[in-house]
């Protein structure tokens, strides 16, 4: 059973092409079902970076390609990639491990692969393929540090806040400026358990809107220094031309904090926070350049870890190849075992006539002994056939077994 993959991704196609074939969950499920009706098995993985069709059955490649071209038009033909069997499996395993993502090791893709699998029309091959892909993705993340370090400025800011406070639950955020950059940083902190306490902004309306979305209270920009005493993390990203918060403002707020540390994130250019704040004890100030340097370092670390993850992926792909190859000999093994069982049963029936009436206990012993003989005789040939299949000689062995034991001759 041949596995085919046809897809389009951020590596070869700009967003203008990708968006033509992008499908929501329902659309991806419908496409997978339609394809499965034609060929046998199908899964559609559609994210913002890729749309890929995994198909098993006769005419799989042609059907999958026709489906994508049907969605995106002839123009996408040049951007499509087509992979088969082992290469297709390796590709999916790399995708699940985050090795094919824009940011190596990003965690979202594993959930997307799981979603595609659950909505797909899977059979023997795709079921095994996707389960193994999910296992590979998890293994790459647990056995390497590929997904541990932050990959964006806002997630780096949140990770640094965790370096100071540990668990962010209960930490209070003071957001200065209601722009998108500050909001993204605040969202990242809130996602890790922190509470947005205040939003300070020149425009009270914007502050109110943001506070209603993320929680907290809107305050005027002038109220920042006075609320600093109760905050743990300050995120600033205003469009102000000068310093919004000076060293003395922070120093006076620190007096009432009883030694609690204060983490300050300055995402504005020009900077909102006086750099001299960093000299104060218990204050940790990071500006946009500091955070970008942290992200650059962690991305370099992810790339180093990616080499280790590649080895895990290759190992899993090899296992899948061996399993897929073993499928070629499975019918022959099944026929051989069925023939042996048939012979065993017919010989038992004949023996029963000669040996007279057997008690239930005696019958059980005879059943068990004959079954063991058959199993032991067939064990080694079964193992050898599977090994031969893994070494690409499976078809030869399967044919030899069929010929030697006359398997399938009765049906002819």
């Amino acid at each position: 059973m041949s596995l085919a993959l046809v897809g389009i991704s951020h590596h070869r196609a700009p967003v203008e092409l990708r968006e033509r074939v992008a499908l929501d969950a329902r659309g991806a499920e419908a496409l997978a079902r339609r394809l499965a009706d034609d060929v046998g098995e199908a899964v559609c993985l559609s994210t913002c970076n890729r749309t890929e069709l995994y198909v098993v059955g006769p005419g799989a490649h042609a059907s999958a390609e026709a489906a994508l071209v049907g969605l995106g038009g002839e123009e996408i033909g040049g951007a499509l990639y087509r992979l088969r069997d082992e290469a297709a499996a390796l590709h999916l395993f790399r995708v699940a491990a985050g090795l094919d993502s824009m940011v190596p090791g990003e965690g979202e893709i594993l959930g997307q692969v799981r979603g595609a699998y659950e909505r797909g029309a899977t059979g023997l091959v795709l079921d095994r393929l996707f389960r193994q892909a999910l296992h590979t993705g998890r293994k790459a993340r647990t056995q390497t540090a590929i997904g541990e370090s932050p990959a964006s400025v806002s997630s780096a800011a949140a990770a640094l806040a965790e370096q100071v406070f540990g668990d962010l639950r209960g930490c209070r955020i003071l957001l200065v400026g209601a722009g998108k950059i500050g909001e993204a940083a605040a969202r990242n902190l809130v996602a890790r358990g922190a509470d947005l306490a205040f939003v300070a902004n020149r425009s009270r309306d914007r502050a109110n809107r943001l506070a209603s979305r993320l929680g907290g209270a809107a305050i005027p920009l002038e109220g920042t220094a006075s609320e600093l005493r109760s905050a743990d993390v300050l995120v600033s990203s205003t469009g102000a031309a000068g310093v919004v918060l000076g060293r003395d403002d922070v120093a006076s707020a620190l007096r009432g904090r009883k030694g609690r540390p204060l983490f300050l994130i300055d995402l504005a250019v020009p900077r909102d926070l006086d750099p001299a704040i960093a000299e104060l004890e218990g204050c940790y100030l990071y500006d946009i350049d500091d955070l970008e340097a942290v992200v650059a370092e962690t991305l370099a670390g992810r790339r180093r870890e990616a080499e280790r993850a590649e080895r895990i992926v290759a190992e899993q792909a090899e296992r899948f190849r061996e399993w897929q190859a073993s499928l070629e000999v499975v019918p022959a093994i099944a026929s051989l075992r069925a023939r042996a069982e048939e012979i065993r049963r017919s010989e038992l029936r004949r023996a029963e006539a000669r040996l007279g009436r057997l008690t239930d206990a005696e019958r059980s012993v005879v059943e068990s002994v004959t079954a063991q003989i058959v199993n032991k005789l067939l064990h080694l040939p079964t193992v050898r056939m599977k090994q031969a299949a893994a070494a690409a000689d499976g078809v030869l062995y399967a044919d030899a077994v069929r010929h030697l034991f006359g398997l399938g001759e009765d049906e002819r």
Binding site: A159, E162, Q163, V164, F165, G166, E281, Y284, Y286, V294
Partner: protein, 262 residues
């Protein structure tokens, strides 16, 4: 039993040594080396527990009275306390500080004849056993608190300097280090207090005199008492608390050799 003690010493030393080396490798590249280090600590500690059990079975009284034997017990206590946090990934940096020191002290204990099963006990008096045992347990806790405080200062400095590689090495948060160091001292301090009280009661009973060792021990008690009051009464945290923990431990370093390993 002498042979068994000998057979238990070497696996303990090798496992501790392996852990020390693996912690170094883990600091360069976190992952498998860290797990091997943790297992090294566990295996070594179990072997050393066996060794101490053999020593206790062989002796008629308290077997860890000589400086070398007390050092052996001290290493076991330090690593035992460390094991409570050391198994966590983020605390592996602490192992880098604790394990090489533990290996060095363990070798020193061996050189002084404190790891065999044939040492003659000098103390069989319950008061003295309690005194030595409690003080060693407290000092082990203080040593770990000092390591936590040192790690706090190291991490705090990196955060202050805004090092780009700050997130590359898994390390506990400042809040966790500060809290664990304070709690370790808060737990060890009553042991120290009780150990000193037992010692003073014994001293009063035997008519002994006040000497430099007692003065240094009381100074240590006072320093840690100040720490507990300042930390829990006046909310001293962070760098100040870490410096105080390290300063107090400097007194332990004075008391240990002159008082208990001499």
């Amino acid at each position: 039993l002498v042979l068994v003690a000998e057979l238990l010493f070497w696996p303990a030393l090798v496992a501790y040594g392996e852990a020390a080396v693996a912690y170094g490798a883990d600091a360069r590249r976190p992952g498998l080396a860290g797990r091997l280090a943790t297992w090294g600590v566990r295996v070594g500690w179990l072997a050393q527990t066996g060794l101490l059990t053999v020593q206790a079975a062989r002796a008629e009284g308290f077997p860890w009275t000589s400086w070398a034997a007390a050092l052996n017990l001290f290493v076991w206590l330090v690593i035992g306390v460390y094991l409570i946090w050391g198994c966590r990934t983020r605390y592996r940096l602490l192992g880098l500080a604790v394990m090489p020191l533990a290996v060095g002290l363990f070798v020193l204990a061996r050189a002084g004849g404190g790891t065999g099963a044939g040492t003659e006990p000098h103390l069989s008096n319950l008061f003295l056993v309690l005194h030595v045992g409690l003080l060693l347990a407290a000092f082990a806790g203080f040593m770990l608190a000092a390591a936590l405080a040192a790690l706090y200062l190291f991490q705090e400095r990196r955060l202050k300097r805004r090092e780009a590689s700050i997130l590359r090495l898994p390390a506990p948060s400042l809040a966790a280090l500060d809290g664990f160091a304070a709690r370790t001292i808060a737990v060890s301090f009553p042991a120290l207090t009780l150990g000193i009280a037992v010692g003073l009661a014994r001293l009063a009973g035997s008519g002994g005199s006040f000497d430099a060792v007692i003065a240094a021990t009381l100074a240590t008690w006072l320093a840690y008492g100040c720490f507990v009051v300042l930390r829990y009464g006046l909310s001293w945290r962070g760098r100040r608390a870490a410096h105080l923990a390290l300063g107090s431990f400097a007194l332990v370093l004075v008391v240990l050799p002159i008082g208990h390993f001499s």
